[in-house]
Amino acid sequence: MKRTSAEYKSSIKPVWCAGCSEYSVLSSVQKVLAELDIPPEDIVVVSGIGCSGRFSHYLNAYSLHGTHGRALPISLGVKAARPDLTVLTVGGDGDGLGIGGGHISHAARKNVDLTYLMIDNRIYGLTKGQASPTTPLGAKTKTSPYGVYEDALAAIPIFLAYDVSFIARGNIGDVSEISELVTAAITHKGMSIVYIVSPCRTFPVEGFKETVESSEVVPADHDRTDRLKAMELAYSYSPLYTGIFYQIRKPTLGDRLRDDTDRAQAEAGGKEVTIEQILQSFA
């Protein structure tokens, strides 16, 4: 029996603005999960705070809607404790690159096997239109009445420098591409980021729509293991490349923790040590 998208819908009706692109991301993810045939009970979705943070409310899964900026370390804990589950992390540009920005490099170092959807609308949507770490220089927002006075962060180059083992950018205008990328990300063994450029309808940021509309798929011959080349492509803003920039294989946190366990249990002949033995070792 094939699973359907509908199985992944929770009973809660989304409260996003009419026409918000979050709807497309949600239905795309629901479709992908059905196609990958992952039982809803084996999925954990963790989201941060923001419009995008509401994602967890609408997916039929074990869903955790945490605090601002901490979706990634929470997800990491889920996966480290329960390697059998499929873990999805969802959050916005502020959540992920602002308050939560310090966590990405460390999840990448651990290469924890989860998929992180970062939905970048270049604004703080839920709090109604303040500058985010990706709002471009000079843009006027509620907290930059005279224009933003900081450079915007370049997310993809940063993820590359962190050596996240799967990095893709999707354009919300092309939902089938998003589905492909999310599928590839979930299938990838290790940490995967799908970074989705997704202008906010209600608090639009100057020039963003145009940038997004200029997007183009990364050249077909791009070698995904070539970090420096990926970096070069990522620094282009017109065209703005979409698709998979980087994908490498390296042991996941799960793999490495298993090795640790093996080493730790080697002296006990590869068996779990009993509590009694542990206590006796302190005698």
Binding site: S10, I12, P39, P40, E41, D42, V44, V46, S56, H57, N60, A61, Y62, S63, L64, H65, G66, T67, R70, P73, I74, S75, L76, G77, V78, K79, A80, A81, R82, D84, L85, G102, H103, S105, H106, K110, L253, L257, D260, T261, R263, A264, Q265, A268, E272, V273, T274, I275, E276, I278, L279, Q280, F282, A283
Partner: protein, 611 residues
Amino acid sequence: MGNTEFKSDVDFVVRIAGEGGEGIISCGELFAQAAARTEYHVFTYITYPAEVRGGFSMIQIRIRDWMIYSMGSTVDYLVVFSQQGYDRTIGSLGKGGTVIYDPDLVKIEEVPGATFHAVPFSKISGEAVGGQRGKNIVALGVLGHLFSMDRQVLEKLLQDRFGGKGGQATEINLKSLAVGYEAARQAAMGCRFHLSAPSSQKAVYMMLSGNEAIALGAIAAGCRFVAGYPITPATPIFETLTRLMPKVGGTAIQMEDEIASISACIGASFGGEKVLTPTSGPGLQLMGEQLTLAAMLELPLVIVNVQRGGPSTGLPTKTEQSDLKFAIYGTAGESPRAILAPSGVEDCFYQTLRAFTISEHFQMPVIILTDQSIGYRKATVRIPAVSNITVVDSSVPCEEIDLPSPDRIQTTNRLEPSSEELRGYKRFKDTDDGVSPIARPGTPGGQYLATGLEHTEAGRADYSPSTHVKMTRKRFRKLKALSKTLETNPPECYGPEDAQIGIIGWGSTEGAIREARYLAAEKGIPVRHLHPKVVSPLPNRQIEHFLSEMKQVLVVEENYTGQFAHFVKGLFGARPIEIHKYEGVPIAPEEILSAIEKVAGILDEEDISRV
């Protein structure tokens, strides 16, 4: 009666003092470890500087033929490596004490009645191993001779610590040990005491620090996920667990900071694991937001706060009991949690077990509040009857679960929904005691939303007044249920019931108060002692009862503002005498005794005036 319990023929204190980086602590620990293998009980206390090198550092070892409750207040044998070590500890030398010092580094002033031995540790080490690296082990050899310890025992310990025979470090240390023994013999030091006969009874004892006891308690409780970040003085808990967790099939991961640590624990707890994160005050401050998230998601979570001197970076290597109110009130909004304060090294093990029981049963965060003095103190601890660890069914009411003891340990797991409850599953069902079954990811039909927003029983976000009122009450009902459970526990009271003077303490002061009580009893002043282990919520009725029976009550704690006393006053309307020590070092039995004597004097006068 306490008094007989206190009778002891052997009871002496050894202190080694000098600068950080001189190997003082390892010298003392090896000595203590060897002593612990005999029939005697051992108790250590450590002071070290916040710097990696330099600054005053010392270790104190008490040895006794009976259970030890405190570090002791005067020193019988003093080994000093530096002038600072001498200057800052000579005042603690007891009557007839012995001082062993390096004459090239320390200028002494003779103390009447004391014995002084000059042993040039530095020079001896230099000659024997060509440097200062061996000087602490030279001292160990001197102590070995002084207490006629079996040299093989010490050699074995050195090999265990520095790698097998033949290794360079081991060889240097074995050499140093030998010259130490020799030096003492040459200095014609008489053997003071025999620490040699290993006892058969002693096989059931471990030598543990409070930090290690917590790590072991977590493992015994079934905790298999730990995330942490190093911070003095909690680091050893985490270090011990990184070593042990993989052995028992668990996971201990180091995170980038304390926020990430507690976040990972929340994730793992959501995943169904029993989790723990160890930290100290500065780290707990960073965890506040996630702590309330756990409370709101009703996830079990155990946090250990090994308190140190504050505020801010403060006195990172010193002890203080100044995080009590912070642990209770330190987060925004109102949410329930429990705070446990172990009273000693052994109790660290048992309160950790209890913390997991409460946390898993009531699905709320539990904070274990210890402090530097307990965390670094080492003591001989009876090995509990591990074969008696049983997991009781998650439906067993909390008050029916035995308090963990050396004879019997019951652990529990969180309540899971029945297949019936999974139909139209309400994760946050508003039940009689507020506890609702929690589905483990992977359970078909158990999918639910856990949101930090206010939510309905089904988990849906809802900010209506009625939902907030209902769910606030639901969450606090768990705390009320816990309070009720506490009232049925045996009272944590010691000493004669007809005493007129009562002392209330919490946490690590237990031993000092206990000894003060014994000392007072010897002077004919009966004292009763209340020492609650769960410090929030408090066992109200027990405390009220205690207060009502006493003429005068002292509250002893190691902080400036009198945090526990505030509760005694606020909740029970009592007007206790407050004893605050806030010097970064533990309070001594004598300090408490002198307060008791003052109070007894006043009560006597009152009696007289009443005649």
